[in-house]
Symmetry: C2
Subunit: 213 residues, 2 copies
DNA sequence: CCCCCTATTTATAACTC
DNA sequence: TGAGTTATAAATAGGGG
């Protein structure tokens, strides 16, 4: 039982690596829990490995779903039908953006992490339902990228509301899978790169500008 | 230098708790790094404490920004101006929803975690700029909640594009702060609660439904 | 605040079943 | 393959500078 001093390098032996991962994951989760308990801080950890289909997450979803429940009241005002055009446009915009994104996914590791990150965020914060899939998370980056410029641009007094009762989770899932299934066109076109600053929110007026405390 | 066995409970002594946090955070970061290196897995950790204004994140943003850079090509197609109305509506919708959400924020710990989680996700995945603020993240949960029903509803062939060059990060920040500053109306109205299933995506057609592999 | 020191606890590499 | 065992490496509590 002579124990070697750990060499900080990728463990090439498959079974050793897996065993190492299992042990260290457990230890890390415990450390996470201890830190949170001892110091009363909020923390979160996500680990994604080929050994498990679902990512390992700390803490359990329970804590986060308390927060989630506070967001559930959003759809309470609705019943408006005249937004179909806007929604159609935006939906299509999302589709295009997601397709664009898909083409530039090259690094599988990074891609998986993308999915995992957003899958977890999504599961915790947005949807709490049976139909969450890790695949679906590819859509979220695009949403988070597109929404700031599509949505948060101006501010008028006109309030319009939505009918959210029409939603169909089944078709949503199909759509997401469609986007995911033909993957890796692998064109890394540098001309498509645009600096990040343009992608931030904009609000032209209607908001008191003297509040940047 | 007698060392007590750690009792797994909140450390009431302020300085001890902080010292403990500092040490354990460092250890946890190292463990995270080791696990990632040794086992070649993707992982992420976020710790939010009152001792630091910015949350502690592993890994550094660098790794994630490699992924982020792949999203930066999104604005490459643009120059369309006839979307002002849609954007105005949606912007206002967001404002309303954020206000609604703000009223139901009661638990400060959870609220802070909300901000932290989204702040980190946002910093890593969406914006890579100087003007990111943890305050701004209150807007993101609302976006992620609203977008699925506002946006991803139908699918037509009509593609419209946006002019993203007009954006003004300064005003965005002011708006976000405006939303944040008058906080805690504290009405926990149960009638505003709506089940989560209605909030999922919907795509009515245009997507091959035979692909739910 | 930060790093350092050291006794001690804790995590875990290598091994066995 | 996974769950125990044990000796050793690593982390860290308490204290000092």
């Amino acid at each position: 039982m002579i124990r070697k001093k750990v060499k900080l390098a990728y463990i090439t032996n498959d079974s050793s690596r897996k065993a190492n991962y299992k042990k260290r994951k457990k230890g890390l989760m415990r450390k996470m829990s201890e830190l949170s308990t001892l110091c009363g801080i909020s923390a979160c950890a996500i680990m994604y490995s080929p050994y498990e289909s679902q990512p390992e997450v700390w803490p359990s979803r329970i804590g986060f779903q308390q927060v989630l429940s506070k967001f559930k009241m959003i759809p309470e005002m609705e019943e408006r039908k005249n937004l179909v055009n806007q929604e159609s446009f935006l939906s299509q915009r999302i589709v295009k953006v997601v397709e664009q994104l898909r083409k530039d996914y090259k690094d599988k590791r990074e891609k998986e992490m993308t999915q995992v990150m957003f899958n977890n965020i999504y599961d915790k914060w947005v949807v709490h339902g049976e139909s969450s899939s890790s695949l679906s998370m590819v859509a979220l980056p695009s949403m988070m990228m597109v929404m700031p410029k599509v949505i948060l641009r101006t501010g008028t007094e006109d309030i319009m509301q939505l009918d959210v009762k029409k939603m169909d989770p089944m078709k949503r899932q199909q759509w997401i899978m469609e986007l995911m299934n033909n993957n890796n066109n692998n064109n890394n076109n540098p001309q498509t790169h645009v600096g990040g600053e343009e992608m931030m929110f904009q609000f032209d007026d209607n908001i008191n500008p003297n509040n940047g405390h």
